[in-house]
Symmetry: C2
Subunit: 347 residues, 2 copies
DNA sequence: AACAATTATGTGTTCGTACACATTTTTTGT
DNA sequence: ACAAAAAATGTGTACGAACACATAATTGTT
């Protein structure tokens, strides 16, 4: 399969490469005759421009800023950095520079401050994790006004000003947790949902997970379980959870909607006479530890590393090769147990 | 962050770009003085060659041949084509052409014939699915003798002449099946392993899966189950399996080591008085159907699409940007149930 | 010291595309 | 019919790296 170049087409059409160029880029100033001839030829041979040559010509330097919670405060976000770093390595030779900015995921003010800094930089794109719903809407408007591309990961946010979202279907994620719970918890038992350590109202992901979880149990499992929901700050968990367990001896399943599930497992494993199944989120080292010892039964993997990596990839290929960015990319929701976690942590 | 070019470095070092070029490529014929100066400079500014420019210069056309079982005979292999097609689309503008060749996965002769054809083509690389152990070893030697890169997917094969393997850890895959089985099948029941439709001795993947399955139940589950193994051709299944079920009324779990699990589910669902859990492989439409209706409990996803796509990606980036190809890439082993299959089929 | 042989260094072209600029052809107005 | 304006077409150069080739500097030989 021969590769045709602009020069080849020019010769075949009996015109100059300048004319072919004008046709390809619709710059006008071409006679109808020449336009028809070249257009037809382009179609016939299915001309594919050499993207490498094109990219070389456009030797701009693109700048992407990543804004995410500080992984030193919440280790869930560490893989995000790993994904970003992988992308940096991959694209540094292509004229794409990426800077990371961190905020405190429990402090909306720090989020706003960091975004202010980034805005000053006037990058070509920002990749943000909109964990705070209200504040995110606010800053995204500013980026839009400055013609800065806004990519989001991890937390879905319905907003026109967002170019793309890479993450999961969080409602479905809750359903999956419920389907697993149903398999391992006997009927007529009590299952509790625990939201840990985040402000429920401003955090859409916990709401969606809870909704999905209940949704499944209602529709598929015909309400065979007693369901209760609790929101705790981690500091209070040590008192509150034992209280709950002592009060009701019917609790057989716990669904934790965040990566802090290890702190729940830690408490429950001391109640050795109870058989309580635990399902939670994310492959933190601490969680894996309890997964291995079967104190946690399933973890749902949100794949933050792949989220950030993929999102940057989409931006980079857009800048370099003019690929269009899909509005939404939903990653598979991985079910992880003590036997298959390895494949998800080792890359 | 400024991007330095060879020209920049030449100017900074007070030499010509030719000299810088010779230093970078160690072509010799450079005075010690110039060498030291340029080397130091290269280190200082951490020179990264512009891979796009480099790639443009080497405007070779690379040719990859993909050899896989005909998906019209076994639909498991269809996603493989999808992955290849995705890669074709992605790389056709970069001067990489990919051709697909099919053989009958039940006919070693057709495999050898196809490989003979491909060898004549003298491609730069072949991507093969070594489903036949013995014959694969044979053809790989020939490719090696012709300096053709050999990539493998799906079936592991210990051999020096192989450049890389993209696939799964099949022993672990069996263990995962066992761990799930243990969760949903009560103790002291009988579990049977069924190998379907392939010649066991020449097919390493079924052996590994069985070994892993048994391995887990022995080590972790202390042989709480009665285990039996059967090898059937699909044609005989309709007689043999009902026989088995009628004889023993203790069978509560079936592990099918291939994608043909739907044909087992089809038979078992007629035995409405039995509660038999089924675990098998791969997201064939037919399998998904039974998964949705909970006739199949879990499927293990081998992700053939991603296998082929990723493998070609590795080859392409090697040819285009001189990236080194990792000897082995083990994909995560996805656990799929009726709630999360969607994320794996929709991309 | 003169010249060849060797070694070091510099120059120019190519890859395919994009775009600025130069040149030619056609159209318009008088 | 002819100049001027407008439209169409052609030409040349840059992007950054790679490499062939030309030229310059050094070394060795008599």
């Amino acid at each position: 399969m021969k590769k045709y170049t602009i020069k080849d087409i020019a010769k075949l059409a009996g015109v100059s490469k300048g004319t072919v160029d004008r046709v390809i880029h619709k710059r006008g100033k071409v006679s109808k005759k020449a336009l028809d001839k070249v257009t037809k030829l382009l179609e016939e041979i299915d001309y594919q421009p050499n993207l490498i040559a094109r990219s070389l010509k456009n030797t701009k330097n693109y700048h992407i800023c990543v804004i995410q919670p500080n992984p030193e405060i919440d280790p869930y976000w560490q893989p995000c950095i790993d994904g970003v770093n992988q992308a940096i390595n991959e694209y540094k030779s292509f004229g794409i520079t990426i800077d990371s900015y961190f905020f405190n995921h429990a402090d909306t003010y720090s989020f706003l401050e960091v975004n202010k800094d980034v805005l000053k930089q006037q990058p070509d794109a920002v990749l943000i994790t909109p964990v705070f719903h209200k504040e995110s809407v606010e800053v995204i408007k500013k980026y839009n006004a400055n013609n800065i591309i806004v990519s989001t990961i991890n937390d879905p946010l319905e907003l026109n000003g967002i170019t793309n979202y890479v993450g999961q279907d969080l409602l479905q994620s809750g359903r999956i947790a419920a389907s697993l719970m149903e398999m391992i918890v006997p009927k007529n038992k009590e299952i509790i949902i625990i939201h840990l350590d985040e402000v429920f109202n401003n955090s859409i992901h916990m709401q969606l997970k809870e909704k999905g979880f209940k949704n499944y149990l209602e529709q598929v499992s015909n309400n065979n379980y007693t369901l209760k929901t609790y929101s705790f700050q981690q500091a209070d968990l040590d008192k509150e959870l034992p209280n709950l367990l002592n009060k009701s001896n019917n609790i057989s399943g716990v669904f934790v909607t965040t990566s802090k599930v290890y702190s729940v497992a830690k408490i429950i494993k001391n109640f050795t006479d109870l058989d309580i199944k635990i399902i939670g989120y994310d492959l933190l080292d601490e969680n894996i530890k309890y997964l291995k010892s079967n104190a946690i039964d399933f973890l749902i993997h949100q794949n933050p590393k792949h989220q950030s990596y993929l999102c940057i990839t989409q931006l980079a290929e857009h800048f370099l090769f003019d690929k269009k960015i899909p509005k939404q990319k939903l990653l598979p929701i991985d079910i992880v147990n003590s036997e298959n976690f390895d494949g998800y942590t080792n890359n």
